[in-house]
């Protein structure tokens, strides 16, 4: 890699001082003159018809400035996915029917919180309760109550189907017949929540110019604008979603949320700013939680452990509306086929409506569930065949340059190296054997080691598909970076500044960032689908290079040299072979403006993946390309299990990963650490308990997330497969999502290694481990 000054360095985040001093303004901190407090009335019933809503008493209460119901709305539905096959299925405010507990029915804006709450209690509703179904497999039965009519093109013997993904290749019957060993297993994944520390929050101000200004804790301002504008019947240009700092998201702040719509509707009614902030209880009881998934997996292998065929059925409970249900069943297919070669496959995934809360993406979106299934089963197969877990993975891992069934290439895929490196660095084979011997001993604490593998796509084509960036050179050679990217904590603004600094040869601190405002900045794919660093980063690179070229061209003229013979240092452009011949950036900027009769120096850059591919992949058939870049990783977890209590402790997770190359190693490590922690929570600690569609552990006291005492030691091994060079766009890969999957799978395998207990339903609460140990004892006794 050529000598780089800023890219590839562990540069501290640019917003560090603002955050460390408490100056960073989050949505919860936004305060405007005349601002009202908004509150949302939610359904107490999981499924009911609304016969009548009477808001007259609430409206008369002193201090109440606006009350809204569906009668004030345009009754335009929206959905996380909106396609001809999957049309929008959710009103942002319930019209005549509610389908889950907590569904939004009305909103109130008042002078203070107490008045707003009292007003909610004065809204009178006549209900007619409807039959309910909460269990996803029950909801598929023919006699289940209908929550939405199934789509006409989904011709299935099942009920309540929100969507289906089906894809196959090869000859399944033949492949299973020829397999040396066939295993079938079923895995269940619990419902979890993101537990972002900043609750859902929105401030909406519909001003007298007819513009709706919105501050909201989100993962992408352009997606929010599009959905707000469409459901409110406003032109995009009349909706301005503005930047705030975001106190964590992890997938839980995408899509349009009803409280955002209600805040806007309230402000449009009373022309005053309205602020809605969820209490933590409301976050649990009213917002969207992470998608669950059932995975039925049948795998046939050859005698040497090579996968011959896989048949997979997934069932997703999307809740009362589609949410991202039809996406998670599509993605789960991808996470099954990307890391390992599967010559014959049949996949069918169902997303099913129930009367539960709506489910949405969480970091990894399907990967942890699919990898838990595949990686657990592969270890079971390996054990039956007498092959070690490392060897069986090496035999199946995709090699560089392989084509995936959707036509994507894994390109410089470093998975083989990741598996080898992580095994070597953790002394996996020796420890694996030791754990097996220890299992037979009488010791109370058992140790185990396990491995998990995942691969992940980045920057796929989903609205708005591409990113644009502008780099402005000011007269004094200071630089403004204008981007629609929103920094949700991953460090987007820092990484983009590093790239601009690198291209322009100026310090990172001197790049001023203006970000995440739909009116004053440029379109951006957003901080989801794992593509911001790659897509927006390349747009920033092109924008900076575009501005730089203008300076170099004018400098070449002034210095009477070829632009190729020029170099830059300390904001000066000089001639390579005679460094004394030089002009400053400020002089070059002035010269460029003069030459172009006043035009200022602005660089533009645009980027999207697969510019020549016209269409998105099909959610129904999984056909069509996704992306140009696949990350991959092999992760090893070391655990100890207390056989008297069933408590599992994750001691260390080692990650060998191919993220292309780390543009900022410290930020990359931070992403991995966070995912190790989230994976640990998912596999061991976290579960939303739901009774009749209502969350019954709605606080951080009853829903345990990892605290510092649960901290897992982490180690990282970079497998570098790409590079950054000045003259071409770069290929960095995903680093912020899929690592959860490797951790979950590795811990599951490590728990088995330690105890012989094979668990197929997360989370692995101590009672499940104890049950497993008891069953082993019973078997022995027989």
């Amino acid at each position: 890699m050529e000598d780089l000054l800023y890219v590839g360095k562990s540069i501290p985040r640019k917003d560090g001082p603002a955050k460390a001093t408490g100056r960073a303004e989050y949505t919860v901190d936004v305060s405007l003159p005349g601002m009202l407090i908004g509150k949302v009335l939610r359904s107490p019933y999981p499924h009911a018809r609304i016969l009548n809503i009477d808001t007259s008493k609430a409206e008369k209460l002193k201090g109440v400035k606006a009350v809204v119901t569906a009668a004030d709305s345009l009754k335009i539905k929206h959905g996380f996915v909106e396609t001809p096959r999957y049309p929008a299925d959710q009103y942002p405010i319930a019209v005549d029917r509610v389908r889950h507990v907590g569904e939004e029915i009305a909103g109130v804006a008042a002078v203070d919180e107490y008045t707003a709450e009292e007003a909610l209690s004065l809204i009178e509703i006549e209900w007619e309760e409807l039959p309910v179904v909460f269990d996803v497999e029950d909801a598929m039965k023919q006699d289940a109550p209908e929550i939405h009519p199934s789509h006409e093109r989904v011709n299935e013997p099942y009920h309540n189907i929100g969507g289906k993904t089906a894809n196959s290749w090869g000859d399944m019957e033949d492949a299973f017949t020829k397999s040396y060993l066939v295993r079938e297993d079923k895995y269940y994944c619990q419902i979890r929540t993101h537990a972002y520390m900043e609750p859902q929050a929105t401030v909406a101000h519909f001003d007298y110019s007819g513009k709706l200004n919105v501050w909201t804790s989100s993962m992408g301002v352009f997606l929010k604008r599009a959905k707000l504008a469409r459901t409110l019947g406003l032109p995009y240009g009349s909706v301005r979603v503005r930047k705030t700092y975001v106190g964590g998201a992890f997938g839980g702040k995408i899509d349009l949320f009803s409280h955002e719509y209600i805040a806007a509707l309230l402000s449009m009614k009373c022309h005053q700013p309205v602020k809605i902030v969820y209490s933590r209880e409301e976050v649990f009881k009213g917002s969207r939680h992470a998608q669950p998934l059932i995975v039925e997996l049948k795998t046939g292998v050859a005698k040497d452990g090579t996968i011959v065929a896989q048949q997979i059925k997934t069932i997703n409970d999307s809740g009362a509306y589609r949410g991202s249900g039809v996406v998670v069943i599509f993605l789960a297919w991808g996470f099954a086929m990307a890391p390992y070669r599967v010559p014959n496959m049949r996949y069918e995934g169902y997303s099913v409506y129930t009367n539960n809360l709506v489910h949405c993406p969480q970091r990894g979106h399907g990967a942890p569930k699919m990898r838990l299934a595949v990686e657990s089963q592969l270890d079971m197969i390996a054990e039956e065949l007498g092959i070690d877990p490392v060897e069986i993975r090496l035999r199946n891992a995709r090699r560089p340059g392989e084509l995936l069934p959707n036509g994507d290439s894994v390109k410089n895929f470093g998975l083989i190296e990741c598996i080898n490196e992580v095994a070597k660095s953790t002394d996996f084979i020796n420890k694996y054997g030791a754990a097996k011997r220890e299992r037979e001993k009488d010791s109370k604490i058992k140790h185990g080691i396990g491995i998990g593998v995942c691969a992940y796509m980045g920057g796929s084509l989903i609205y708005p598909n591409s990113s644009s960036v502008i780099v402005k050179m000011n007269d004094d050679a200071s630089v403004s970076l204008i981007t629609g990217a929103i920094d949700i904590g991953q460090g987007a603004e820092t990484v983009l500044s590093q790239i601009v600094a690198e291209e322009l040869g100026i310090p990172v601190e001197e790049v001023q960032v203006d970000a995440a405002d739909t009116e004053t900045t440029t379109v951006d794919i957003g901080s989801w689908i794992s593509g911001l660093t790659w897509v927006t980063g390349n747009a920033a690179k092109k924008a900076a290079a575009h501005a730089m070229k203008k300076l170099l061209d004018v400098a070449a003229e002034k210095l009477k040299e070829n632009a190729d013979d020029l170099a830059v240092r300390n904001k000066e452009i000089f001639v390579k072979h005679s460094p004394d011949k030089k002009i400053t950036y400020a002089q070059a900027i002035a010269a460029s403006i003069e030459k172009n009769k006043g035009d200022s120096v602005i660089g533009e850059g645009h980027f999207r993946t697969m510019k020549e591919e016209p269409t998105h992949p099909s959610l129904a058939t999984a056909k069509g390309r996704w992306t140009e870049n696949y990350s991959c990783y092999a992760q090893v977890a070391e655990v100890e299990v207390d056989t008297e209590t069933g408590i599992v402790k994750v001691l260390k997770v080692t990650t060998a990963h191919d993220c292309g190359f780390p543009l900022n190693p410290m930020l990359v490590e931070g992403q991995i650490d966070g995912q190790v922690s989230m994976g640990q929570g998912q596999v061991l600690l976290e579960e939303l308990r739901i009774e009749k569609g209502c969350i019954i552990n709605p606080s951080l006291l009853e829903y345990k997330i990892p605290c510092a005492l649960d901290m897992v030691e982490t180690a990282y091994i970079d497998v570098i497969t790409e590079k950054y060079s000045k003259d071409h766009h770069y290929n960095s890969k995903e680093v912020g999502e899929g690592y959860v999957a490797g951790v979950v799978a590795a811990v599951a395998n490590a728990v088995y290694d330690a105890t012989g207990v094979r668990l197929k339903q997360t989370p692995f609460f101590p009672n499940k481990v104890m049950n497993g140990l008891e069953q082993i004892q019973k078997k022995k006794a027989r």
């Binding site: 562990s10 501290p12 985040r13 917003d15 560090g16 001082p17 603002a18 955050k19 460390a20 001093t21 408490g22 100056r23 960073a24 303004e25 989050y26 919860v28 901190d29 305060s31 107490y114 993101h194 537990a195 972002y196 520390m197 900043e198 609750p199 700092y245 975001v246 106190g247 964590g248 998201a249 992890f250 209490s279 933590r280 949700i488 904590g489 991953q490 460090g491 410290m666 930020l667 490590e669 931070g670 650490d673 966070g674 995912q675 190790v676 922690s677 989230m678 606080s699 951080l700 006291l701 997330i705 990892p706 605290c707 510092a708 005492l709 901290m711 897992v712 030691e713 982490t714």
Partner: protein
């Protein structure tokens, strides 16, 4: 609640005296954020669980969501706004930035103040001391690794005399 039920109180926050009238049922967190616009102190759960609202009271960490403002009279309140001297950051703030201990930043004010209270009372804590001290401050982004590293670095700096 009507106006007559308001009570005049005086608080000393970050070395500055404030005098104002509030309803006595209001928490220190509400008063800091809503009346004094010291919004660096965040609300995360309002149950006293997550530690996001931590401030120091006579140097000890408390959860301002569970603490009535009137009880803080006569005591020294330190919020995150009181840590830096102008643009000069406190060494703990500096360490958090340098070691990547901040991601979304929402827990950072509470986390930094808890760390300060620890280091003020124990300049050479063990790793377990550190984890125990911050175990009531939730962070969903970092997995705590780099936070612990940053706090350790402050101890080393102290030994080195910086």
């Amino acid at each position: 609640m009507n106006k007559s039920q308001k009570q005049l109180i005086s608080l000393k926050i970050n070395g500055q005296e404030y005098e104002f009238a509030i309803h006595p049922n209001r928490t220190l967190l509400e008063v800091l954020r809503e009346d004094l616009m010291l919004t660096g102190t965040k609300e995360g759960c309002d149950d006293g669980v997550c530690g996001t609202c931590t401030v120091l009271l006579n140097g000890a960490p408390i959860r301002s969501c569970l603490y009535l403002a009137i009880e803080a009279q006569g005591k020294e309140v330190t919020t995150i706004e009181g840590l830096a001297e102008g643009e000069k950051l406190h060494p703990i703030q500096q360490a958090f930035i340098e070691h990547g201990a901040i991601q979304c930043g929402y827990c950072s004010p509470g986390m930094i103040l808890t760390s300060k209270a620890l280091l003020d009372s124990n300049s050479m804590p063990t790793e377990h001391d550190i984890k125990l001290a911050i175990s009531g401050n939730f962070c969903r982004c970092t997995g705590y690794n780099k936070i612990v590293t940053a706090i350790k670095a402050c101890c080393q700096n102290a030994v080195g005399g910086h």
